[in-house]
């Protein structure tokens, strides 16, 4: 699946594992992997994942993804399709196909107080809300930790 999301994920990977000093550098690395795209699109992708060119303190510039953006961008921002509450103790989170597990792992890793646990299938995650916590608190924590999820909420 050579989709936009796929390319974005490869681009993140390149930025995090290699030293790239310009968008042309990135385009070259992509071409080595058989992926062709224009500088224009790359610029738009980089904006989405909040990657940017920063001085490296040693007389040059290097592309980086700020840590707080790396977390929420890598999986959650692009893979989560929707979040919807059911009753007062559950939330159903939909991802694009195959990503439910990766996403739920990220949520689990945060050990958020209002989340008792998660169960994930292929494209669906069930979030169990801990007794004594509200839907609102779950939403607030998720949004705080994964900023990009904000507009994925269907109800609250």
């Amino acid at each position: 699946m050579n989709s936009k999301q796929n390319r974005i994920s490869i681009i993140s990977q390149i930025i995090e594992s290699e030293t790239v000093r310009s968008q042309n550098d990135i385009i070259d690395r992509l071409r080595e992997r058989g992926i062709t795209l224009t500088q224009a699109s790359l610029s738009r992708y980089l904006k989405e994942i909040q990657a940017s060119r920063i001085p490296d303190g040693n007389n040059g510039y290097i592309y980086k993804i700020p840590p707080e953006a790396a977390k929420s961008t890598a999986v959650l921002s692009n893979e989560v399709v929707s979040v919807e509450f059911s009753g007062n103790n559950m939330a159903v989170l939909k991802t694009i196909s195959g990503y439910a597990n990766a996403v739920s792992a990220q949520i689990d890793a945060k050990m958020l107080p209002p989340i008792a646990g998660t169960i994930s299938g292929d494209d669906t995650i069930l979030i169990i809300i801990r007794d004594g916590f509200s839907k609102r608190q779950v939403k607030d924590y998720l949004v705080r930790e994964f900023q990009y999820i904000k507009n994925k909420f269907l109800n609250e």
Copy 2:
């Protein structure tokens, strides 16, 4: 007063306290404060302080200084007795007894580009200057990060 250092310090302040989306923005803010400089110089300053323009996640760009490069009014107050250069690649920093380690930890934490590393004993710190950088640059960075240290330099 070193004018360049002064301007750099004001620029950091602007970036941290206002929303600036381009170098021209910064130049405008500086002009409001009676400081005039060209975009060329600003670009060079920003490179020094490792400030850069990053996507703000909301369809725009904003200038930021990454946390590890950001200046903080650190607390290495009266422990430093003197700073003296030796040769072209070392500086010897004297502290009051027992504080060398704590002080060098603060210097290390800044990850200053011109400092390759430090070694500390009880009241003495040896600063190793990174190849390609000058004594002058070490002094400028130290003074920028630890202003009160300014008058502790024995030679320059």
